[in-house]
């Protein structure tokens, strides 16, 4: 199997249909309808943008930037399915908008000066960005007693900073390497969190979008077919998640028929299990962990397929965020399939730089160092930024509970990934596909690992570390 150049295949009938006038209209209408559960009436704006971008590809970026601004202005409490909300309900909309605009303007001006700035300053722009964000949060914490500042901090700033931090980092990386002029308007969509990416920039930044922008009608049709597939999958997984939650935990979605609701709850919720682990038999404790992992995967699948689907429909054929993680046979493989853009974020800003800087070390040591820096240090830093609201408002207890659980989660993940990397490096290229029973066993072990560490990933700031530890102890068969 040669990775040599291959001629592009002739367009399939589906692509030909998607290229036709009727096809484009159908795609626009489908997208509008499929996005209603996630965006409500704003879905109409998305549908209009998708339609316009299909017929006026030269205006794609302008259409997308206009859409991004519109959605950010209109949707002040945007929430995608049951995924993370991009704006909390208690934020100060005008303050945050003004601050966001000032942030983006400053970033744009700063990066436009790159050609004139000393090279070392350009190279350290990422450090400056994180330093400025840290200084901001420390200032908020220091002056947290001021009522006005507290409201602003809890509402606007702390929601905005995590949203913009990594998008800005990708912007800086892009401008650091781009020599030509790059109008801010044409790339504004890459920095505005209009699709609700919860801190992780899905589609990375302008450079990545530029690389995946379709250049002709055939590729646009191909991207749009992928977009339609992803939106359909998002709807399907949303329905599957609703059925799962109903059957396992008796959480009934409005649209589900009553006959599907079981007489008794089949499993405890993670919340309940963490509080009273010994109240349930061993099989239920384990089954609950798997149920929660499936639920987390389905929620993330809905969320990320929707976002990637939107970008595909608009002409940016970016890779999927999630690719069947439950089929992974190694921890490393699961990590790459579960949340691609988060893995990429850690790869781009932690793993890869550390790996390059440790060229004198043996391959295994370099890999371990890079893995720990990404999966532990980078992952922890990313989440501490998300926990800023608690710190800024002086809620030390919440911050401590969240941060301690996260330290343990990141340490476990890093240990698992290091082990997986070491095994893969040892195997080298002599790997041969395992027989089916062995593969099934590997899948089970990998999912058990992630189900177990999910106990530390479960978001509930009230739950102290001791309870999570007690649940782990309760999973032992001799307890």
């Amino acid at each position: 199997m040669q990775p040599a150049l291959a001629k592009p295949a002739a367009p399939s009938p589906v692509v030909l249909a998607a290229r036709s006038l009727l096809g484009r209209l159908w795609i626009t209408v489908f997208a509008g309808a499929a996005l209603i559960p996630a965006f409500g009436y704003t879905a109409l704006a998305f549908a209009v943008a998708i339609g316009l971008a299909s017929f006026l590809p030269a205006w794609r970026r302008s259409i997308l930037s206009a859409l991004a601004i519109l959605v950010c202005l209109v949707n002040q409490n945007l929430k995608l399915a049951s995924g993370p909300s991009i704006l909390s309900a208690n934020w100060v909309p005008l303050g945050a908008l003004a601050l966001g605009a000032a942030w983006i303007l400053t970033l744009s001006i700063w990066t436009r000066l790159f050609a004139r700035l000393p090279r070392w300053l350009v190279r350290h722009s990422l450090l400056l960005l994180h330093g400025a964000a840290l200084a901001l949060i420390l200032a908020l914490w220091a002056f947290r007693q001021l009522a006005v500042l507290k409201a602003f901090a809890a509402g606007a700033l702390c929601t905005l900073v995590p949203e913009l931090l990594w998008r800005s980092a990708y912007w800086i990386k892009w401008r650091g390497r781009e020599t030509g002029r790059a109008p801010i308007w044409a790339n504004l969509f890459a920095i505005l969190p209009f699709v609700g990416a919860g801190g992780v920039p899905i589609g990375k930044g302008p450079a990545y979008f530029g690389k995946h922008e379709v250049r002709d009608a055939d590729r646009l049709a191909l991207a749009q077919v992928e977009g339609v597939k992803l939106l359909a999958l998002a709807l399907l997984w949303q329905a599957a998640d609703a059925v799962l939650a109903c059957v396992l935990w008796r959480f009934k979605a409005e649209w589900l028929p009553t006959w599907i609701v079981p007489a008794h709850r089949l499993l405890p919720t993670m919340d309940l299990l963490l509080r009273l682990p010994m109240r349930f038999p061993l099989w239920q404790r384990w089954a609950c962990l798997y149920g929660e992992l499936f639920h987390a995967i389905l929620v993330l699948a809905v969320y990320s397929h929707t976002i990637v689907g939107i970008f595909c429909l608009l002409g940016f054929h970016i890779p999927r965020n999630m690719r069947s993680p439950l089929l992974a046979t190694t921890i490393l493989d699961f990590w790459g399939r579960y949340y691609f853009y988060f893995k990429e974020l850690l790869m781009d800003f932690w793993f890869f730089p550390v790996f390059l800087r440790t060229a004198r070390l043996p391959a295994l040591w370099r890999t371990m160092l890079a893995t720990v820096s990404a999966a532990f240090v980078g992952n922890l830093y990313y989440h501490l930024v998300l926990y800023w609201p608690a710190l800024a408002s002086g809620d030390w207890m919440t911050f401590r509970n969240q941060a301690t659980a996260r330290v343990i989660y990141c340490a476990l993940l890093a240990a698992g990934l290091c082990g997986s990397f070491a095994r893969s490096l040892k195997r080298g290229s002599s790997v041969s596909p395992a027989p089916l029973p062995r593969r099934l066993f590997q899948v089970l072990v990998v999912s058990a690992f992630f189900a177990l560490i999910h106990v530390w990933n479960f978001i509930d700031p009230v739950i102290p570390v001791a309870r999570r530890l007690a649940l782990w102890q309760a999973l032992l068969p001799w307890r």
């Binding site: 199997m1 650091g176 990429e344 730089p353 790996f355 990397f421 290229s429 002599s430």
Partner: protein
């Protein structure tokens, strides 16, 4: 340049064989491990020591991207 391409193709084919999955030439679907192997391939075969401001992981995800790095950074682009 043709020689670099042929050698790279050979190396990518061995990577693809190890993964048990094909690699497309215009967008190499490389996981973290494969990316590291590409970096080590450049270091060991061309003596290229990349700095993090010289290269992004995405530069290594296409044949042309890797070839362009070889051309840019290798000592007179001579294979070892």
């Amino acid at each position: 340049m043709t020689d670099h391409r042929a050698r790279l193709s050979e190396f990518l084919a061995s990577l693809a064989a190890a993964r048990g999955a094909p690699l497309e030439s215009d967008a190499l679907d490389l996981d973290s491990l494969a990316l590291l192997q590409v970096v080590m391939y450049l270091e060991q075969n061309y003596g290229i020591r990349l700095a993090d401001h010289d290269v992004e992981p995405d530069d290594l995800r296409s044949v042309d991207g890797i070839l362009s790095l070889i051309e840019q950074f290798a000592d007179a682009a001579s294979p070892r």
